[in-house]
């Protein structure tokens, strides 16, 4: 009896741990989906893929549970008990632990400097004439440019690349504060993360703002502002800056990221 008993117990371990991990992942993905947190990690257009994947995990879990309870139904795994050590499952447990133990789920301003602010808009200056400008005629007719979730990327590109065309116009926008080293006392950048595929490829986009005592707001404070676009010289180049006429400190929005091209 002795060897058989050991066999059974160690075999159960492998399939049992796998069942626990699979269950953990199903619960994690389902929870993120139900509480609408998935857009904080991936572009909403990929959510359907995640839904498919947790549905696919269910039959795998069922098989693993059956294998845990009825070891004889598995011909080959029974021999594999010797290396079903906990060690090879550590990475999965670390992910689950991190996911459930760290409650915050939104990128903060710390990452702006390592991602590089506005790198995209300066990226295209050498080919600026060929640039498609779908929003230029629309913005040209507006008295007040309203920057929303939907037009954020294009609006930032337009304003940062062609400040001379928009100087004097009113603008309303939201974003979080990021203080670039080297700006004066009354200047900050108002920034949002733009997410293409998943949050790992997010890039911070924003525009410079000017206002009295604005630097008292620490990095990451969300502001909703109204202001007037003006042209300034920054780093020896023409740049846009918003002269703030009114501002309001707001709670971080539920949808902090911008998803372009949706």
């Amino acid at each position: 009896m002795q060897p058989r008993k050991r066999n059974l117990r160690s075999f159960n371990n492998g399939a049992c741990i796998q069942s626990i991990i699979l269950l953990g992942f199903i619960i994690l993905l389902l929870w993120l989906d139900i509480t609408k947190q998935l857009p904080l990690y991936i572009n909403p257009k990929f959510i359907v893929l995640t839904q498919i994947s947790y549905l696919l995990l269910v039959p795998m879990l069922v098989i693993q549970i059956i294998d845990t309870l009825l070891p004889t139904s598995s011909v080959y795994e029974q021999h594999c008990h010797k290396h079903s050590s906990i060690g090879k499952y550590t990475p999965f447990f670390m992910i689950l632990l991190l996911a459930f133990a760290v409650p915050e789920n939104t990128l903060n301003a710390n990452l702006v400097s390592s991602k590089g602010l506005n790198s995209q808009s300066s990226a295209i200056t050498h080919s600026i004439k060929d640039l498609p400008r779908p929003l230029a005629p629309v913005f040209g007719q507006m008295d007040t440019i309203k920057v929303t979730n939907l037009n954020y990327t294009e609006a930032m590109c337009e304003i940062n690349n062609f400040p001379n065309e928009y100087a004097g116009k009113k603008i309303t926008m939201t974003g979080f504060v990021f203080q670039i080293p080297g700006l004066t006392n009354n200047q900050i950048s108002l920034v949002r993360y733009v997410v293409m595929c998943c949050t790992a490829d997010s890039l911070p986009y924003g525009v410079m703002c000017e206002g009295i005592e604005i630097q008292k707001y620490p990095d990451g404070t969300w502001l909703s502002i109204e202001g007037i676009i003006q042209m300034v010289t920054y780093d020896g180049k023409d740049a846009a800056s918003i002269k703030i006429t009114s501002l309001q400190k707001i709670e971080a929005p539920k949808d902090p990221y911008v998803y372009p091209y949706n």
Binding site: L38, N110, H126
Partner: protein, 319 residues
Amino acid sequence: MEDALATIAAAVWTDNWNHVINFKVILLSIVIESFPFLLMSVIVSALLNNFVSENTIRNMIPQSNIRSIFMACFLGILFPVCDCGMVPIVRRLILKGVPLPAAIAFMLAAPIVNPVVSAATAFAFQNNIHVVLLRLGTAFGVALCTGLLLNGFTKGRQLKSPSQIHGHSHGCCQHTLNSHHPGYSPLHRWINTLRDACHEFFEMGKYLVIGAMLGSLSQIAIPREMLLTLGQDSSLSIGVMMVFAFFISVCSAADAFIAASFSSSFTLGSLVAFMVFGPMIDLKNILMLLHTFRTKFVCCLTLIIIMLCSSAAYLINHL
């Protein structure tokens, strides 16, 4: 004094905690994003194992090795897959009798030479067709040359034997490497498919997760300024961008946007090298490769790809 210390400690704590949050968000986003692709890949691999016989596959691939390599480079157009999940499928194809050079060429080309990635690249570079063509062309060239080189210089499957994978030699677990069992009932086959998929999911998922962890760490730790100072040198920039691509391990559909964000400060060749090398070899898939293929083979393959990518990038910079 104590107050001041407490304030400093609190500030350091908040700062580090913010880094932990960013690490968690980036890590989970990579895992969630690549999860469907890994799952799809292990399921396709398991289906191949249980429902397709070696003969069917042998009849489908062209007789001549050169022609099969050529064909493999274009298969991505039909199967737009992400690089996250290529290794299990490729291993299964090799086990099913696809010649190694063709399978490797497929693995290298498919994540780049496909419609989804072309569209994403065109978006990222604001419809600059020149960059898209350079990327696809270079990827195709590298995959083709690698396939041809492997065809000339390697023999056999180069897969690790099951005993090497598990570090012992009593030959268990061979089941997963076995071919399908023609006598089984359909229900049995489906159950076995799920079991194989599950087994491979845990085998490969581990490396994906570890790679994603290292990738997110380097996203937080590598300061952009350091990269930017090296960007204009025509040869150095290529090396820097390839190392960067290796470490950050983003999806092939998304890396074009990262590359575009560097386009003001980096040479065109280095950007192409970034977008071609990254999907072929990066931290998360080299771990899976090392687990699947012989170490010596993975080293050779990596070296070949590094040489080809960097020389292509060098040519782009100087023509």
